[in-house]
Symmetry: D2
Subunit: 343 residues, 4 copies
C-alpha cells in the first residue's frame, strides 16, 4: 500500500501517517519525490486489516490518496495457485483442454420443450443442459419460471440424455432443492454481489457458475468468487456475459472478451462465456461464440430453443436447434485452431 | 409497439407479421415509409403479453427491430398517478415540501458510536438515523456488520432520540427481525434486481428505499420499484447513489443528479440522493448535497461518523459530526432558495 | 418516425401534431393504444429534414417522445448496398476473403527501427506497414512524432519491402503531404467526430481507416463513415479499437468484438480490429487477435516493435518481432477455421 | 512512481528494475510486502520522462504493474497554483465570486433570431452570448452552420447589446477569423483531444472554453487544458457537458456534476457547466442549472431560442426566452444560498 501525501503536506503530517502505520506493527518507508512525498508500507498487511487501513490512512490530514499494490483476493488469484483449476462434474471437466458447451432454453417451459433441446444438445456434442426454473425478470409482469416443476423436468432430461445440468439459484433458501435436481448452480449477473447467496453457496461443494455483473470490474468479479472460495467451495467457474453497453440499440450488453485472457491471467479458475445474453439476438451468437473460443474461453453457455418465436422468455436471442447443430461443427474447427477440442 | 421491417422485406413477410399481431386480437396498421415499412399496433397491449410479443415479433422473418412506445411500468408511472406520492413514517413525510435528511454511520459499530451519531442527527435537524447491521462488502475479508446486535442498538437509538430509522436488508429471510427494529428498509444498489427480495418486501407495508444499481437504467430502477408496488406496498422511495463511473480515481461512482428530475417526471415516487457512496470521500459531500437539493431531491441519506479515521467501514466517505452540523445550516439555505424547507 | 403522445394529451394536441406533419407533405397515421396515442409517419422523410423534424415534433405540446424507425446513414448502410465492399490498395484487398494484417510501431522513431519492423511484417505475411509520424498524445509532454521526416521513412520502408503503408492524419491541412507518402489514411479514435477532417478526407479518393471513438455508438461510427462517403470517397475501412472500459486497471479500453458482426450486418464496409490500443499490454494481443478473426474481422492492425522496452510510445502494448512471427502462424490457423486465409 | 513486481519475481528481476531506474539517475527504494515486492522511485521524475519510463518499466520481466503517484499535468494543477484563476474578458470575470451565465442559440440562423436571443440574454442578466457558426453535426445531412456570415452576426449582436461572445472553433485554420469576431473560443467535446487545435489555441491569448469529452476522465480533461496552458495561453475555462450515459432514452448524456468540485479541487481553473447538451431536452435544464450552481460551478452555458420548434439545430433542448428569464431569477436565489451572485 502506498500513501501519496499532498504536495503541501507538512513534515508533521507525514510523520503522523508513518506513526499510524507503525502503530499497526507495519513498516513505513518514506519515498520523497519531486513534487510530493509518498509513504510505502514495506510489510505484509493482513487481509482483514487492508480495507480498514486504507480508509484510516485516506482520511488523515495531508494525505492525497492511497494506492493498493496487492490485490484484495487471494484464493481466486493465480499468484497463490499457479496452475489452472479444473472443475469436474460427472466426467465433464471445465478448465482443461476441452472446450465445454452448455446449451438449452432460457426458461424451462414444458417437458416437450426441454427434451427437444436436450436431445439436440446431446446430438451435437454439448455436455451440459441449461434451463431456468426460477427466472429473474426485469419486469414483474413477465413469466417468472415454472419453479420446482421446472427443476424436476430438468433433472429428468439430464438423466435421460446423460447431460450435466445447470440452473440459476436466486435465493439461498432454494439451494437444497436446486442441488437435489441440478449438477451446477448458476449465480446470475444481477446477483453477483448478493453476498448472503455467495456465502451460502460457499458452504456447499456444488459447482457454481458466477456470472459477471454488468458493471462489475474484473476485480469485483474475482472478489465474488473469493466469497465462495473462502467458504470452502473450490468448484467455481467464472462466466463473462457482457457489460453495460454504450447503447442498447444493436446488442443488449457489450461482451467483454478481453475479460477471458485477463481473468485467466489473474486467476486459476475456469472462464466460460455466455454470448446469448450479451448479444440479445441470435444473429451474432455464431460469430461471438467462435471469438470466445479463440480468446481462450473454457466453455460456452448459450440459449437454444425448439421454437424461438413461441418462447416465453428471451426468444429473440435463442438459436434454433438446427442452427445450433451447424454452429457446433464450426466451433470444433475454431477450437482445434487454438489447440483445443470440443466433444 | 412498432415493428420496423427490413428494407427488403417481402409483402408476404409484412403480412405474416400483421397476421401474427391480429392473432393476439390486436389491431395492426401498416406505415409505409421511404425506405421500409413499419407496422404499428393500434390497440392496448396487456402488460403480461408485452415482453413475449416483443420477442415473438423480433424473431420473425423480415423484421428489422421492434420499438416500444409505452413503458413497461405502470404503478410507478406518473402517467397513472399524476400527483406526488408522499411516504409518511412516524410524522416524517418524504415527497412533500420538506427535504428530509437521513444520516448516520455506514456500519453500526457500538452503542457509543451510534448514539453519538444519533445525537448529532437530532441536534442538527436530521429526521432519520441510518446505520448498517448487515453490511454488503465487496471483499469477504471486510467487516460484515454486527447483525441483530446492531439492530437492537439502532432501535434503542431511534427511540431515545426520537428519530425514524433505516437499515439495509440483504436477505428476505431477515425481513421480520429487521422490521421489528427499523422503520424503513433499504434495498442496496447491488440488490436492486434481487427479485425474491423485492417480492418479499412488496408483501409488507414497510417503507422501503430502493437504491439505483450502478449500471441500472432509470427504467430498470422504476421496474424494481414496480415489483414492490405490484405486491401491494405503496411506500416506495427511490434513491440515486451513483452510476458506474468513467474512472474510479477521484470518485467511486458518478452521481447522476439528472436522475432526480428524470425520475420525478416519469414517476410520482419520492426521490432521495446518497452523495456519500457516489463520492467515496467526504470532500465532495457538501457540494453534492447542495446540488441534490437544488436538483429537486426530496431528501438526502449521508454517512457521518464520530471518528471517521477509526471507522470499520467507509470511514473516508464519512463526515465528522461538526462538519455535518455546519452542512445542515448550508443545506437549509439551498432548500429555501428552491422553495422548500429542511427541519 | 413515430411520435408517442403523452397519456394525457388532448385531441387538439394530437391533431396539431398531425397537422404539422401534413405541413411537410408527409402522411400521418394515428395509432391509438391502450395508454396513449402514437402517430406514425407513413411516407419517406427526406434525409435533410429528418433531424429538424424530430426536434420540431419533440418540442410540441403533448408529445412524450419521438422514435426513429429508419437509420440516419444511407451510403454506409448495407440496406442500400447489399454486397460487401472491397477496398483495394496496390493489390491488397480489404473486405474480401483474405484477412489482412497491418503491423508496425506506434511511432516511427528512426529508420533502423521502422525498417526492422517492416522486415518482420513482410517476412511473416503482413501486407500493411503502420507507423505514426504525427502522434496524438494525451500529455503535451510526451513524444509527438517525427512529422514529415517520419513520413519519408515510412514511404521508403513501404517501397523497399513492398508493403502498403498506413499512417494517422491529425489535421486536414497535412492531407496532401501524407497522401504523397502513405497509401492509407487513418483517422484516430479521438478524431472520429472531427468533421472538417472527415469532410476533407471525403474529397480525396485515398483509402481511409476510421477508428471508432471510445464512447461512440455504432450508429455514430457509421455516420462518421457517412461523412467520408457523402464526399465521394468510397474507400472507407472501419476499425474497432476499444470502447470506454469499466475500469482501466487491466486493459486500457474494452475491445468490443461484437461491433464486428454488428457493423458488418449494418454496413457493407470492411471492418478491421486494433487489439493493441484496447488491451494496452502485449500480453492479451494474441488471444484478442485470434478472437477478432473468429468474430469475422477483415483485418487486424497491431503494434510491434524491435525493442518495446526502449520505445518512445506505447512500448508496453507492442509485440516483439519474434512474438509477432509466431502469432501470425497461429492466426493463419484461426482464419482457416472460419473459412478465410491470411497471406 | 511505484513498480509492483509479480509475486514470483526473482531477485534478479527485482534488481534489474532497480538498476534500470538508477540508470535514469533516479533513486529506487525496495518495499518488500507480504506477497510481493514493490519498488518506489524516491526522486522527482522529469515530466518528459514520465510516460516513457512507465512503459519501459511496465514491459520489463517480473513486473506486474506500474502505478503513478504524481499527476501528469502541472500547469493545470492546483498543487502548483493554489489560488483560483480568474479569466477576465471585457469586464466579465469567470472564476471569481460571481456566477456568469452564457446563453444563446445552438446555431446562428439569422440576424433576427440571434438579436432576439441577445436581447433576452442582456435583459435577464446574462453576460455572454453564445451562438454556433461552424456546427459539428453527427450526421453529414444536418445543418452545418452559417460560417463566416454567422460570425458577423454574432459580432454585431455582441457589440449592440454589450455582451461578451463565445463560439465554437472546429478547425485551427479558422482561428484568426473567429478571434476577429468572437471574444471566447469554444473547443467542443468531440474535439477535446484534437491536439493540433489545442496547440494552435495555446499559441493565442484568447480565452477558451474546453468542453469535457463524453468519455474523457477528469485527468484527460485537465491534460487537454495542459496543452493550451503549456503553449502560454492562461485563459482556460473548463466546461462539464455530460459523459456517456447508461442509456440515451431520457437524457442525451449524464451530466457529471461531481466533476465540478473534483476539477476545482484538482485545478485552479474556472469550471462552468452546459446543462443543455447533457439533458437534451429543455425539461430538465432548470433543475440541472440550479444544481450546477449549488455544486460550485463558476458559470453556465445554455441554449435558448426565440422559437425552439422552428430551430434548425437542437431545438428540443433550447429554452424559450421567457422561460430563460424566469430561470435567471431562480438561479439568483440559488447563487445567493451558496454565497455567490449572478448579475
Amino acid at each position: 500500500m502506498i500513501v501519496a501525501m499532498k504536495t503541501d503536506a507538512t513534515i508533521e503530517e507525514i510523520e503522523r501517517v508513518m506513526d499510524r502505520i507503525a502503530g499497526y506493527d507495519l513498516k513505513a518507508l518514506r519515498l520523497p519525490g519531486g513534487e510530493r512525498t509518498a509513504i510505502g508500507i514495506a510489510s505484509g498487511i493482513p487481509s482483514g486489516l487492508r480495507e480498514t487501513l486504507t480508509e484510516v490512512l485516506a482520511s488523515m490530514k495531508g494525505v492525497d490518496h492511497v494506492t493498493q499494490v496487492s490485490r484484495a483476493y487471494k484464493l481466486a488469484s493465480r499468484e497463490f495457485h499457479s496452475t489452472d483449476s479444473v472443475v469436474r462434474i460427472k466426467g465433464v471437466a471445465l478448465g482443461g483442454g476441452e472446450v465445454v458447451v452448455a446449451a438449452g432454453p432460457c426458461a424451462i417451459e414444458s417437458r416437450d420443450q426441454l427434451f427437444a433441446a436436450a436431445e439436440a444438445v446431446k446430438a451435437h456434442g454439448g455436455k451440459i443442459l441449461r434451463g431456468g426454473a426460477f427466472k429473474p425478470r426485469t419486469s414483474p409482469y413477465a413469466f417468472q419460471g415454472l419453479g420446482i416443476d421446472g427443476l424436476k423436468i430438468l433433472k429428468e432430461a439430464g438423466d435421460k440424455f446423460g447431460l450435466v445440468t445447470v440452473t440459476e439459484v436466486l435465493d439461498q433458501h432454494d439451494l437444497d432443492v436446486i442441488m437435489d435436481h441440478a449438477d451446477i448452480l448458476q449465480i446470475g449477473a444481477r446477483n453477483m454481489q448478493n453476498y448472503p447467496l455467495l456465502i451460502a453457496v460457499g458452504k456447499t461443494s456444488h459447482p457454481v457458475v458466477i456470472k459477471r455483473g454488468p458493471s462489475a470490474t474484473i476485480d469485483e468479479w474475482l472478489l465474488a468468487a473469493e466469497y465462495v472460495l473462502a467458504g470452502g467451495n473450490e468448484n467455481v467457474i467464472l462466466c463473462e456475459r457482457g457489460v453495460h453497453p454504450l447503447e442498447r440499440g444493436h446488442t443488449r450488453y457489450t461482451l467483454d472478451l478481453s475479460a477471458v485472457p485477463v481473468a485467466k491471467s489473474l486467476s486459476h479458475l475456469p472462464v466460460i462465456v455466455d454470448p446469448s445474453h450479451a448479444c440479445g439476438t441470435w444473429r451474432f451468437i455464431a460469430s461471438m461464440s467462435k471469438a470466445a473460443i479463440a480468446a481462450g474461453a473454457d466453455g460456452l453457455i448459450m440459449e437454444i430453443h425448439p421454437d424461438p418465436a413461441g418462447a416465453l422468455c428471451d426468444g429473440a436471442q435463442s438459436l434454433r436447434l438446427n442452427a445450433f447443430g451447424q454452429l457446433m461443427n464450426e466451433l470444433g474447427a475454431v477450437a482445434r485452431a487454438v489447440g483445443r477440442t470440443i466433444a
